[in-house]
């Protein structure tokens, strides 16, 4: 007992010293006013700080939404230019090449280790990205990302949105901005942070297990499709967008044989989006709907198809609070209903029935203390048709003993930006239910809470 007390006292002493050292370092960083602005390529192009476009990256302010809507082309910096004249083309090239770099390093620990593996893992880096992000001309710009993934030990194509935009038109006497987008992820073209591609959580680990079931439009097709679409914003209120997608397997052979890939789009998969926004000086509200329809043949390009239709609703409200030095409160939510008819999977023995549905609810509230600190609480809930073949039984960690896709939980995130281009985050993800149950969900004795994770991230963007 005395040994325990000595050990306990020593541990407390060590913790006190460690916390003291961390507090001193933190205080020094907080008290040191950043001398450099965030300098990713959009910032270099516009001469504006990151905070002009982001409450906190990647959350867009109204100006950030307008910058994206206008095709990432707004610039205040010198360009190499020539006028369009007679039968000669014009030119407008940024003098500064729009290249940016992102470096993430992280530490992740789950409540209980995944059997046969160590718990508490550093990733140095977790990933690193190169961005070609900026104006390509007077009406064309890009957000283009390639990412090195340390687990795969290779670079791969990441989120991409290349767009043409024209903001100089009027329709029914009101200003209209319209454009064309080439992108590789449904909702990546969107302007709000209530839809999946840019939704909460804004950072996440790639170590802890995640629920098996996800709706199609909720990231299942990210970077696995290529789409051509159009969008328009009328009178700063009504936003309409639509894209048609075809399968484009990164790393897969061309022409696509379909084998080895869960989704092979037959024909085209249409994505649609409609949103209404209203704003005052300190309030911004958006309500909208989006969705997608896809027919796909798993592991094939012919024969029977699986059919999916996703209907989704979302909202976002940002409230700037002048009494608190313009702190911002953001509240966002989305509901996705997926109806599917899995004829091909059923015929292939991968499902006990053809018809399924999946409901996804996600909501979060975030408070931004200036541009330096933000705290977010989010909840999520997934329910749907139980199917012991579709949601595999007998697989430890990733399986579901009762064949149910049901998962629910909460996420707490605290982020600190000592400079606008440096992000230090802590995130806790807690599960109330995982792949169908809270206890022994995989039939191998693992509880949902065993997948709870603590995640520390340091992100540098320059």
């Amino acid at each position: 007992m005395q040994n325990f007390r000595i050990a306990f006292a020593a541990r407390i002493g060590f913790l006190t010293k460690a916390l003291g050292a961390i507090a001193v370092i933190a205080l020094l960083v907080v008290l040191t006013e950043p001398k450099a602005r965030a300098v990713p390529s959009y910032s270099r192009q516009t001469g504006l700080s990151c905070a002009t476009c982001h409450y906190a990256p990647p959350e867009l302010t109204p100006f950030g939404r307008k910058f994206k809507l206008d095709g990432y082309t707004f610039t205040t910096k010198p360009t190499v230019s020539a006028d369009k004249k007679d039968h000669n083309s014009g030119l407008q090239l940024l003098e500064a090449f729009p290249l940016s770099v992102l470096f993430d390093t992280s530490f992740t620990a789950t409540q209980k280790p995944q059997p046969g593996t160590q718990n508490g893992n550093f990733e140095f880096p977790q990933d690193a990205s190169l961005f070609l992000a900026g104006s390509w001309g007077s009406h064309v710009g890009s957000f283009l990302q390639v990412t090195y993934d340390s687990q795969g030990d290779h670079f791969t194509w990441d989120n991409t949105d290349i767009r043409y935009a024209d903001n100089s038109r009027h329709l029914f006497g009101k200003p209209v901005t319209y454009g064309i987008t080439l992108n590789n992820n449904p909702t990546v073209e969107d302007l709000w942070n209530s839809t999946p591609a840019w939704g909460f959580p804004f950072v996440s680990n790639n170590v802890a297990p995640t629920p098996s079931a996800a709706a199609l439009v909720n990231g299942s097709l990210a970077q696995d499709v290529a789409g051509l679409g159009g969008y328009g914003m009328w009178n700063d209120h009504l936003y309409l967008a639509g894209t048609i997608y075809r399968t484009e397997h990164i790393g897969g052979p061309q022409p696509n044989p379909g084998t080895g890939f869960a989704f092979n789009i037959r024909g085209v998969a249409p994505y649609w989006r409609a949103a209404w926004q209203a704003s005052t000086e300190n309030n911004n509200l958006e309500v909208g709907t989006y969705g997608m329809h896809m027919k796909s043949s798993p592991n094939a390009i012919m024969g029977l198809t699986d059919s999916y239709t996703d209907w989704a609703f979302d909202f976002q409200y940002d409230r700037t609070i002048p009494q608190f030095k313009n702190d911002v409160l953001s509240i966002r939510g989305t509901y996705i209903r997926e109806n599917s008819s899995l004829e091909a999977t059923f015929a292939g023995g991968g499902a006990t029935q053809a018809r399924h549905h999946l409901n996804t609810v996600q909501g979060n509230a975030e408070y931004h203390f200036g541009t330096r600190v933000s705290g977010t609480v989010g909840v999520f809930d997934i329910t749907g048709t139980a199917d012991p073949l579709l949601f595999a039984q007998g697989t430890a960690i990733t399986g579901s003993a009762n064949g149910s896709p049901a998962s629910s939980g909460y996420i707490f995130n605290l982020s600190w930006w000592p400079q606008q281009n440096i992000n230090l985050s802590y995130q806790f993800t807690g599960y109330l239910r995982f792949n169908g149950a809270s206890t022994d969900y995989d039939g191998a004795g693992r509880n949902a809470a065993a997948n709870n994770s603590n995640y520390l991230l340091a992100r540098f963007v320059f």
Binding site: K66, R246, G267, V268, S279
Partner: protein, 123 residues
Amino acid sequence: MGKRVEGKRENQCNESSRVSHSQALICLIFLALASSVRAQSDATKAYAANCAICHSANGSGDASAGKALKAKDLRSPEVQKISDADISDVITKGKGQMPAFGSKLSADTIKSLVAYVRKLPKK
């Protein structure tokens, strides 16, 4: 076997036909949109490219981006009473949250923008 090959070709034809129909539909929608919108004169291009993002097409600054940044209503007496030289100076050097455009825009373009701002209350 022959039938299966034929069926495969038919299937591929149908699929490529669906793709081309969809692409044609998208093109038609955009052509229709482009033809229905009213083109602005060349004189407004510099304003649309550089100023409208915050100050709105009509100068009011009442779009969401302008409201959030508290952009001035360029039609207001408060702005219109400022001298040409001072407006030119603000465009060139920036002021408050407004960035400087002096390294991008020529003196002639800035002069034309000042003239454009003067015309905004009459539009």
